[in-house]
């Protein structure tokens, strides 16, 4: 696991859920971990929703915040630069969706170019516009162009929310493997709802990370 890891992809692909799970995983091995939310597009369903959990684990959260409220402003917080200057800290970047969201990454193109980082494309093949190899590659190219950076790997985050089955994940795995073949990018991780971890076959289990669905809907409370 490198000092810097960036998660980008189609919006709603599961980037924030993956980034939070990845930061928690880093925290098991490293003293200082930071998660940077640079989603300047969508003010709903944010890293900040997991703030309490991250605080308890001692994971630093940097997000666009307006006057300490839950309202977020579409501007990059100056504190993001800490990610590049605090060399003893492991950093997870949670980018906004699509190529539009990835534009923010290009702002840090110079800084990233001086770092050893992983840049993962999060794929959920149950999302309507990334259902097959062809459409995923179009998204990949668009995001790379907007961010001015090349992906270093793919991650499978295929899910149907609480209706996800193991066969959904395996179907996603197959498509991501196909994308990996065409693009020469490794299929690095699979993010799996913690309830399904035990049922996973060994072929996927070894690269799987459990995620918790932290966005509860009001009628589930």
């Amino acid at each position: 696991m490198k000092r810097m890891t960036i998660f980008a992809g189609h919006y709603g692909s599961g980037k924030t859920t993956a980034a939070v799970a990845y930061a928690k995983k880093l925290r098991e091995q490293h003293e200082k971990v930071m998660i940077v939310d640079i989603d300047l597009i969508n003010p709903y369903y944010r890293t900040k929703d997991a703030q309490e959990e991250l605080d308890a684990l001692g994971i630093q959260v940097i997000s666009p915040t307006y006057a300490n409220t839950n309202i977020e402003t579409p501007s990059v917080p100056a504190q993001v630069m800490a990610a590049f200057s605090q060399k003893d800290t492991y950093v997870v970047f949670d980018a906004a969706g699509d190529d539009d969201g990835a534009v923010v990454l290009s702002r840090f193109f110079v800084e990233f170019s001086q770092e050893d980082y992983d840049f993962f494309m999060v794929v959920n093949t149950k999302r309507p516009l990334t259902r097959d190899v062809e459409s995923i590659i179009i998204y990949k190219d668009d995001i790379e162009r907007a961010s001015r950076m090349r992906f270093t790997g793919l991650v499978n985050a295929t899910n149907l929310g609480e209706e996800t089955t193991v066969s959904d994940i395996l179907e996603g795995e197959e498509i991501v493997n196909e994308v990996a073949k065409v693009t020469n990018l490794p299929n690095r991780y699979t993010f799996v709802w913690n309830k399904l971890m035990e049922e996973l076959p060994d072929s996927v289990k070894h690269k799987a990370t459990a995620v918790h669905l932290f966005h509860k809907k009001p009628w589930e409370l």
Binding site: Y11, G12, N42, P43, Y44, Y45, I71, D98, D100, N124, K126, R127, P128, L129, R131, N159, L160, G161, E163, H215, K217, P218, W219, L221
Partner: protein
């Protein structure tokens, strides 16, 4: 996509519109409905449709006016402040008897308000936000699947009765994701478009789309003719769901996502031995008066639960017509109630029975 996919409400509405034959979308971004526009911008080119980001909400609704005049299926979407801007256009569209679909993914108001979910545009949607004797048919989905089903329905109702139809959801419905499937759209149903301003082929007199009638008698006749169509819509298109109402002492009335929160509270109340029920209006206009009246024949009290300071409660009171007390519980400004606070209110009411 008969197979399930994971979609936001905003995306599901956009995809369902395309499948309903809507190839003309005029939008303008505003949280929390921007994904309707974003999705349309990606999908419309794939289906030889048009996605156009207008220079303002006012422009977008007038583009819909123009597009709908040709008989084509057209749609626009926005959220509360943007819908306010569209009111003049909506009144003109209604006055010109044009079918179209408008999406309102409601956020907190008034003014710029906030960006979190709300239902405080109920008055504006159901009582005519623009001027004149007119109605919007207002559909209120409560799940992402229902966003799909009601979008299909919205275009059919619009064409059948030549009226604008609004789909009203709250920010939560627009933003949250649920598994959804798209039933095969029945394209065999056709509607009379002989009024449309399409080519005459030199074979007929030109059609005119207009809402200006200087002669009062002529205007009155047209307005009453339209009113008869509204009566027909009320008779044929009113929709609601009732749960546990047969023996309910306390009947909750809630729509959209809040109906799901209310349902949870009703089940908890039943588990405590309180006979609670729920009526979920699916059409907000026409309002499901008959369902309410039926429940009011045996219920001891009603509770309207809304994300507003109390708007639909007035329609509930009109329908209950004094047969029993009607109470209100609401949160507003973007705050979504949780089941427990509604349950507390039910318990409080049950002590008064």
């Amino acid at each position: 996509m008969s197979e399930k996919v994971l979609m936001k409400g905003n995306e599901a509405i956009a995809e369902a519109a395309i499948r309903s034959g809507c190839k003309l979308f005029f939008g303008y971004p505003i949280t929390p409905q921007t994904e309707v526009s974003a999705y349309m911008s990606k999908r419309m080119p794939q289906v030889d449709g048009l996605y156009l980001q207008a220079e303002s909400e006012v422009a977008a609704i007038n583009m819909v006016y123009g597009a709908a005049s040709t008989g084509a299926r057209a749609m626009t979407s926005s959220s509360s402040p943007g819908i306010s801007l569209k009111q003049e256009g909506l009144s003109y569209i209604a006055g010109a008897d044009l079918p179209c679909v408008i999406i309102n993914i409601v956020r907190g108001g008034p003014g710029l308000g906030g960006i979190q979910p709300a239902q405080s545009d109920y008055f504006q949607a159901t009582k005519g936000g623009g001027h004149g004797d007119y109605h919007l048919v207002v559909l209120a989905p409560s799940t992402i699947q229902e966003c799909v089903d009601l979008t299909y329905k919205a275009f059919d109702i619009a064409d059948e009765y030549r009226v604008p139809v609004m789909i009203m959801g709250d920010g939560m419905l627009g933003q949250m994701m649920e598994p959804v499937s798209f039933p095969e759209h029945d394209d065999s149903v056709t509607f009379d478009k002989s009024w449309a301003c399409s080519t005459t082929g030199m074979k007929r007199k030109k059609n005119i789309v207009n809402s200006l009638y200087i002669n009062p008698d002529e205007l009155e006749n047209l307005v009453w003719e339209r009113q008869k169509r509204y009566d027909l819509i009320t008779e044929k298109e009113t929709r609601a769901e009732s749960f546990f109402c047969d023996d309910a002492d306390i009947v909750l009335v809630a729509y959209g996502t809040i109906a799901r929160v209310a349902m949870n509270a009703v089940k908890k109340a039943r588990a405590m031995g309180i006979k609670a029920g729920l009526i979920r209006p699916i059409t907000l206009w026409p309002f499901p008066e008959k369902e309410i009246q039926k429940a009011a024949a045996t219920a001891k009290s009603f509770l309207s639960v809304e994300m507003s300071t109390g708007q639909m409660v007035e329609d509930v009171k009109l329908a209950v017509n004094g047969k029993c007390p009607v109470e209100f519980y609401g949160r507003t400004g973007g705050v979504v109630p949780v089941p427990q606070e509604i349950l507390d209110k039910i318990v409080e009411m049950s002590k008064k029975l």
